[in-house]
Amino acid sequence: MLTKRGAATPRELAQAISWERRDFLRTVTGAGAAAALFGLGPVPALASAGVRKVVVVTFGGGARDEETFMPEGQENIPHLLGELIPQATFFTQVVNRGILGHYVATASLATGVYETFNNFAAVAPENPTVFEYFRKDLKRPATDAWVVAPSNGFNRIGESGHRSYGAGLGAGVILPKRLLTAALSSGGQVEYQHLLRDNYETPLYTPELSGSEFELRQLGEILKLSVADFTAHARSLASPDELSVYVAHQLMRQFAPSLLWITLHDIDIAHSGTYSLYIDGIQRSDRLSAEIWKTIQSEPEYAGKTAMFILPDFGRDSDTDSGGNGFQHHRTGDPLSRTTWMMVMGPGIRQNVVVDRPVESTDLVPTLGALLGFSPRLSSGKALAEVT
């Protein structure tokens, strides 16, 4: 009685989501050409020809269809719909079969293997990350791969513990909120620990912190920002994700990294049970995604040679699953919480195209490998032929 989805099998559910998305996208984006392209095979050497840099944006932590691409959610993502999708190849069905915790799921995205470590532990991924494959295979310097993540729990995501990769081959990781806390605290005795509270599942939880020397060095030596300039800019921003995008922009200007990974996290406020704040987070992520794309187009080092991938790490529980509490968490592992989307845009990537077949979130790393020319040999995913 609650919805027609209640009686469906997981596969039927996923299929239904996909169909609804596709129909919706045809209508809203005018993706008329999409129908003709469904089921088409790859176009070798077309897509990757001009891609020399990649920016990955995880639309995190955890956005559902209802509040994004389903008809009732479209008002929350005007930039994705109006500006980005017409330029993108859009995958309607990206399934995450791994653990639905933000750090471990993002690590799985970055390794192309479903990682199984404790989501709340400060550990390195077990399998090599995309950053290690990229740097080792292509002999790139440390400054060519960066991760920006607002959540303190992500500090080990840049480099795995794998014996053939690991130490010295990963990406630099910048946690802007830690930078901010270090910068604010450097001038006196004032404590700003409350800024670091970002684990919304347990609202008061703050991960253990080390000293602030490292962050202050990052600020000056890497971002070339003074404490005063950085904090002044932060005072104009409403959220940690806005700070992350600012830091990412600084990195692009300073080093023009070829592989830049930006993890947004504001949406995870949903764990507090406040629907309005969850929606605010989605709207902000929508706006910031468009801003990042505009930055890519306006920076000479990036314009015309950069592909951008946008995807949520996973969804959230459905309203109708009695084991959960709807949008608040992602604990049931139901099909809606596992099924999300991805958009890819850049030189040579087909525009205004919808890909309706199911793919997996572990397919991201092999796809990046095919675009940039490295071999993610331990990844379990497959390169997405539609964009490589």
Binding site: M1, L2, E72, R97, G98, I99, L100, G101, T116, F117, N118, F120, A121, L180, L184, V190, E191, Y192, H194, L195, N199, Y200, E201, T202, P203, L204, Y205, T206, P207, E208, T231, A234, R235, S236, L237, A238, S239, P240, E242, L243, I269, H271, S272, G273, T274, Y275, S276, L277, I279, D319, T320, S322, N325, G326, F327, Q328, H329, T332, G333, D334
Partner: protein
């Protein structure tokens, strides 16, 4: 330890009624799969503080399992028996700490890609146990009422958007004395059907005047309890408790008296419930809208009342980062009525969904009203779906129409 090795003496630390229940069913417990028994014990160990409806459900569940022939039980629980449980989990003190076992089991199932199999087994089990449950008629069809938007003037937000297709949207509801009218209606049902914990009033602020026969839980009345809880959480974190999971375990083991709540039965049962709302619900300690939604959900699920009235109040505003920088973390909370209205609208939808999960759903009725305004929506077998009414109506007449 395997379930086959269970002995009555192992339940020594259980509260009296829980111990009695476990010992009485020990022969059954010994025959159940290792991944399943601790989950059942997690319910049994809190039997003394369960609501009557929960007790009845658990009694019936145990009786049902006991009546099955071994091969029928194996079929019913085959999904659980097929789960691979690690030696560490088997060595866990799951008899005395079934809750902690449940957390570790969940982590193990996710890490070993068995969570989908567990989910399938659980859904199948619940469906079959529900199907076997006797369909006792309710004394009166259930009624859920949600009041949203306290303190809001005009809004451009489209209310009740998720529920409109289920019932009738009333655009000319007389708002005069609305809360009092609704409380009177709830109190009248309580007087007509005086059953313990069968009629609830949940308030996100300070409750209106006390009414006889209502089980009342409010965010305002728990202010000191919330403060004590937040204080304990802060201290635990500062002492390096070891992360969210350890914190969650610490919270689950808190007793009402540790947070300043005391009282013998039946107040003890309600105090346990109040604590569980604050320790198990994310955000309930901080946001009153979350508190109301989660309390209503848990009241429906656990106490299965005949009547539930949930009234939202403005929650505190989430301060943006620049304000946090400027003001540090010690400022007085500022209310956010507009955001609270959006939260409450979604919360009303969830309250209706949870009501629909209970027996007798097809006969039950639901009303949501925008406090102080002329907008309301009613869902009832007596009303059409997906329609609107512009007729003048007061809340008393509206309640009369749907019950």
């Amino acid at each position: 330890m395997l379930p086959t090795e269970l002995q009555p003496a192992q339940f020594q630390s259980y509260p009296p009624e829980a111990r009695q229940l476990a010992v009485a069913h020990i022969a059954l417990l010994q025959q159940l799969p290792p991944a399943f028994v601790p989950l059942l014990l997690k319910e049994i160990i809190v039997y003394d503080w369960k609501f009557p409806a929960e007790r009845q459900d658990l009694d019936r569940q145990l009786a049902y399992l006991g009546t099955l022939a071994p091969e029928q039980r194996e079929r019913l629980l085959g999904g659980f028996a097929g789960l691979k449980v690690s030696p560490e989990l088997q060595n866990h003190d799951w008899v005395n700490q079934p809750g902690r076992f449940g957390e570790d089991l969940a982590a193990h199932l996710w890490a070993t890609h068995q969570i989908d199999a567990f989910r399938g087994a659980a859904l199948d089990y619940v469906q079959k146990v529900d199907a076997a449950r006797p369909k006792d008629p309710l004394p009166v069809p259930r009624l859920g009422i949600v009041v949203v938007g306290q303190g809001i003037g005009d809004t451009r937000y489209t209310l009740f958007r998720k529920m409109r297709k289920q019932g009738v949207y009333f655009s000319r509801v007389n708002p005069d004395n609305g809360v009092r009218v609704l409380l009177d209606a709830v109190a009248a049902r309580a007087a007509a059907h005086p059953i313990p914990y069968a009629h609830w009033y949940i308030d996100g602020g300070t409750p209106e005047d006390a009414r006889q026969g209502l089980t009342t839980v409010s965010y305002g009345a728990l202010a000191s309890v919330r403060a004590a809880l937040l204080n304990k959480m802060e201290k635990a974190i500062q002492s390096g408790i070891g992360g969210p999971e350890a914190l969650r375990t610490m919270l689950a083991e808190l007793r009402p008296d540790e947070l300043g709540l005391s009282g013998a039965a039946p107040e003890a049962v309600l105090n346990r419930f109040r604590i569980s709302v604050l320790t198990e619900g994310s955000g309930t300690q901080i946001f009153s809208t979350t508190f109301v939604q989660w309390t209503a959900r848990e009241a429906w699920r656990r106490a299965q009342p005949l009547t539930l009235l949930a009234r939202y109040a403005p929650r505190q505003r989430q301060r943006p980062m620049n304000e946090l920088i400027a003001n540090r973390g010690d400022q007085q909370p500022i209310p956010d009525p507009e955001g609270s209205l959006v939260d409450a609208d979604m919360g009303a939808y969830y309250t209706w969904l949870n009501q629909q999960r209970l027996p007798g759903a097809e006969q039950s009725s639901f009303l949501v009203w925008f406090e102080g305004h002329r907008d309301g929506l009613a869902i009832s077998p007596a009303l059409p779906r997906g329609s609107e009414s512009a007729s003048e109506i007061d809340l008393k007449a509206l309640i009369g129409q749907i019950t």
